[in-house]
Symmetry: C2
Subunit: 335 residues, 2 copies
């Protein structure tokens, strides 16, 4: 049986492009005892993948060249030599950019229940992005009722969950997103109190003015996905003892790091700024996923997906994600 | 009876200079019921005073023009209309840049015991600088035995206490200071494991090379007094889950804020970076001062002082402090 996969062919130095990837057909080896074969239905595309394409020190190993690109997947078991997994079981795992993956069955896949939660949601609001939101918000931003919470990339897979969870906690929630459609969705559908379209304010001081107008009581907690000039403006609005969860800095992923303009504000406003990687806090996943799953199943946590069709569309969908062209969780439908 | 005092005459825009201050002779008003008059013996000069000279939003109110410069003092009660304070009592308080101060006696002065601890130490290792070191180290850096702890301005009133406390906790301690004499003192007298002379490495990459050589296992906790290029280099050496206590950024006090070159390291290395002001954590002072006082009285905590003679010398001593010309705690002897 033949598999199709996308491998990393070369490393980009600025924005990635098509020649950095290569689509291959490879034969699938027979399963060994204990192994499980999965037909991947959806592939998750996430900003962290850009970092893995570099050959640089980071929190994770670089993506090896000429090997299947890393990525979260949901799919269905099609063959099993493991008593814990039956053909037809729906599972989530890190199946990569390919049609089929082979799991060891020893902790690398997890069965999921699609009775009340769509399969794809396990890659979004009830998966890694949702847990990223849950952890950063609850464990670093620590929002209290009545406080003002800010999040950028607010319509995205992580930001949308951050803001909705903060609303449920009684916060005033301000989003930042790119374009009127996204901002309308964030306030109209997701229920944020305001959403600032950063594209409408190309001058940093104008963006700051809009943020100031939207946060008359300042900002107590901020969830950072973007970095750069958005973070600089937010820092100026942070109240004393504010908390900033550093989750992503997508604005700097394709080039030189973007400096932080005014680090002295960390001191002057007595801020806590803390970076985190949700996969290092697995002990919180069972509780977090239960909460997120219940909220999705009962319609209290909304999300949106952008779905690219077919494995071959993954690279372009990924480039678009890095430019913020997606709307909500970016997926690739593989079957 | 006449007092002499130094007031803020104007606000500096870059480095402060003599014309920003004015020495005045003013008559002392008779004491009201409850008040206490103190002859200040020592005035403390501290980097935070530079911030107060600006008319800018910060954690504290700006120093008002034409009023006595703020400052910590130790002295002796010379007149009292308060039963809790007798003539001859030694006290510490915020007496300002002047020979005499008048205390309300309601929480603004505190009696100190000079049997085993010199009076001036209550402005240094057993005072605000010591507590600053104690709080930032214990509550933010949270060093564990075997970890590597870094502190800059290492021979100063705060840095010297940070490093000695960390050594007592079993850390490897690396200091950064300006000049061979200070570095020799930090390793020879204070017992740090190494001290890097930043003046010997004017090129950031050379300073980074020296820091890397001195921290083969990376840095787990950092106590920041300086900011700028030193902080940039330290960030590159921080281990995963490192903690940075932001106490001061003296390198940027006299001009435009100095950006942080690589804020993405907060995310990549999952750092916690937290600013603090020790006066907002008074609940820790009794325990901290007891510990620091015992260490000083028993000779386990060493410190050094630079003493300028006479009130009129305070402005120049302050300018020198901002340039790092002092060695240890900068005091002005008033009597």
């Amino acid at each position: 049986m033949m598999n199709q996969r996308i491998v990393l062919a070369s490393r980009p130095t600025t924005a990635p492009s098509a020649e950095n990837f290569r689509l291959e057909a490879v034969a699938l080896a027979p399963l060994n005892d204990g192994e499980v074969r999965i037909r991947n239905h959806f592939l998750s595309l996430d900003p962290y993948m850009r970092g893995r394409m570099n050959d640089a020190k980071s929190y994770a190993q670089p993506q090896p060249l000429n090997e299947t690109m890393i990525g979260g997947t949901v799919g269905e078991v099609v063959e099993s030599r493991n008593a814990a997994f039956a053909v037809g079981d729906k599972v989530v795992g890190m199946g990569g950019w390919q049609l089929y993956c082979t799991a060891s069955g020893r902790g690398d896949i997890r069965k999921v229940d699609t009775t009340h939660i769509p399969l794809s949601a396990y890659l979004g609001a009830v998966g890694m992005p949702g847990m990223t939101a849950w952890y950063g918000l609850n464990k670093i931003c620590e929002p209290k009722a009545g406080e003002t919470l800010c999040v950028d990339a607010a319509s995205g897979a992580v930001g949308s969950v951050v803001g909705q969870l903060a609303k449920l906690k009684g916060c005033t929630v301000i989003g930042v997103a790119g374009g009127k459609d996204k901002c309308d969705y964030v306030t109209g559908e997701l229920g944020f109190d305001a959403c600032i379209d950063y594209k409408a304010y190309p001058e940093p001081k104008d963006f700051y003015g809009a943020l100031k107008a939207a946060t008359p009581k300042g900002i107590d907690g901020h969830f950072e996905n973007v970095g750069g000039s958005i973070l600089d403006a937010v820092m100026l609005r942070m109240n004393a003892f504010g908390r900033i969860a550093m989750c992503g800095m997508i604005s700097g992923y394709n080039g030189a790091p973007i400096p932080l303009a005014a680090p002295q504000l960390i001191l002057q406003s007595r801020l806590k700024v803390q970076g985190f990687i949700v996969s290092e806090h697995m002990e919180h996943w069972p509780a977090g996923l239960t909460e997120l799953g219940t909220l999705v199943a009962t319609g209290k946590l909304k999300y949106r997906e952008t779905v690219a069709e077919g494995l071959a569309s993954a690279p372009q969908a990924f480039f678009d994600l890095l430019k913020g062209k997606n709307f909500g969780k970016q997926l690739v439908k593989l079957a």
